[in-house]
């Protein structure tokens, strides 16, 4: 599946998307990346260039939600078009080829672009029995290592490849690990989310294609421009939080009035993502706007961070039963110590035998 031959302009024309629309996309992408608008033509030039880097997309232990998010098979957007047009040389769900031909195409693309292709990974890699996830008879671990060797950069699409995601959650039966635990010698950018916002993905790729570098990353390898703010600081329901107006259940008056969902377990204050600003489905809505608290899906270990419905101010493991048991143990210990002390006190207070003898004498 070598698509590099077809120029982007032809693809746009085939889909009925004018170059004017394409320029609009490049302008707004520059805005998204917090770049000067003067760079928009440069982005356009880079995306249209026939010498675009090859992209190989590897899917491991994943649900395909990340692909669905970016590609939105139901309603292809200009983002999906751009994405496809960057010469996607291997994608198991999208490609027409199958079987050995598909693998051969991948290996050819890797060989032809050695050192220069972008590797996109979704899904975690199992380190337990390799049989948990194999493609074409090769374990995910081996495939990843081979593909990473010749890659210029790796983009971990989704929380599974970035942080382990749902397979990594307790008890992690497959021994799943994030990509960054296996590949340590290549630049990796994490684009977490379950799934991530499509515009974030395309912007990161657009940035790389235009400038040959990855955008500035935070301590978890996420692009700061999208993951630098937490949901709470950008949430439209924040004034309700400040005024102390909370929904207590999902169907009470507060919930209907759109009050803050903190008490219903919203993890907005500790989650960094662009959902509150960019939203989902082309800006339609995001979980909080739909009435459900943020799950924290772009953070590591969000599956194991305590219940989705427990507010952040509650302890996750402290419970009445444990405390009662501890209380019983304490009382038991106290009673035992008290009894022992009483016995000791009685001994100390008892008249001494030698003194008695002296009295007699």
């Amino acid at each position: 599946m070598i698509r590099r031959q077809q120029p982007l302009s032809e693809r746009l024309e085939a889909r009925g998307i004018s170059r004017r629309s394409f320029l609009k996309f490049c302008t707004t992408t520059a805005s998204l990346l917090a770049l000067s608008p003067a760079l928009a033509p440069r982005i356009a030039e880079a995306l249209e260039s026939p010498r675009r880097p090859s992209v190989i997309w590897l899917s491991f232990q994943e649900c395909t939600g990340c692909s669905e998010s970016i590609l939105r098979a139901g309603a292809p957007s200009i983002e999906s078009l751009i994405f496809e047009a960057i010469s996607l040389d291997y994608h198991e769900t999208l490609q027409a080829a199958a079987g050995h031909q598909a693998e051969a195409a991948r290996e050819q693309a890797m060989a032809e672009n050695a050192g220069g292709y972008i590797l996109v990974v979704d899904g975690s890699v199992p380190l337990g029995n390799a049989g948990f996830s194999t493609v074409a008879g090769q374990s995910n671990l081996d495939t990843l290592k081979a593909a990473a060797a010749g890659a210029a950069a790796i983009i971990c699409m989704g929380t599974c490849s970035a942080f382990g995601g749902i397979p990594y959650a307790n008890p992690n039966p497959t021994g799943a690990v994030p990509v960054s635990e296996i590949i340590t010698d290549k630049p990796i950018v994490n684009v977490p989310g379950c799934p991530p916002i499509p515009a974030v993905m395309t912007s990161v790729i657009a940035h790389y294609i235009t400038f040959g570098t990855l955008p500035e990353l935070d301590h978890l390898g996420r692009p700061k421009v999208f993951y630098g703010q937490n949901i709470h600081d950008r949430c439209y329901r924040r004034p309700f939080y400040e005024r102390g107006q909370f929904a207590e259940t999902f169907d009470d008056e507060g919930a209907k009035a759109g009050w803050c969902l903190y008490k219903l377990g919203c993890k907005g204050p500790t989650t960094y993502n662009a959902c509150a600003v960019l939203k989902w489905n082309d800006g339609t809505s995001f979980p909080i706007e739909a009435g459900h608290g943020c799950l924290g899906c772009s953070e590591p270990n969000f599956w194991d961070g305590g219940s989705f419905y427990k507010p952040l101010s509650q302890g996750t493991e402290i419970g009445g039963k444990t405390l009662i048991a501890a209380g019983v143990a304490g009382i038991a210990g106290g009673v035992a110590a008290g009894v022992a002390n009483r016995a000791k006190q009685k001994t100390l207070r008892a008249p001494k035998p030698e003194a008695k003898k002296e009295d007699k004498a």
């Binding site: 170059r19 609009k24 302008t27 707004t28 608008p37 957007s77 082309d282």
Partner: protein, 141 residues
Amino acid sequence: MSRPDLNAVLRQRARGTGNMVLVLHEVAHALEALAARGEARVIDLSSLPMTAPELDRLTDWLGRGEVIAQIEAEGRSEAMETAYPGVWLVTHRDRDDMLRGRYIEITPLPEILRSQPADIAAAGRRMARALTHFSDLEEAS
């Protein structure tokens, strides 16, 4: 229980950042450069922190000129020349009407209004095809 009007509340509490006058000075300098040397410039309004009332005051101050153009390109966009010719307000929205970008363009004509060479070439090919069908219809009737 009615939804409280958050925007009203927020507007009431809005205090300016003071960036409005800075942006206007930038526009003034850019306009001078355009007039003198033909240098075009684009200012991304989302790159500067400004409250919503401030943004409204800014656009009101620039005023409306002779041209308002509506563009349908993967969503609605609008290019409006302000009361200062050469200074345009360009707004981009996507297909779901969500605001994607707001710019002040200091230029004789914003790029979004210009017909693009690639589109022109494609249009040429398309018209040629359509005309062959047209002649067929003419002959049939």
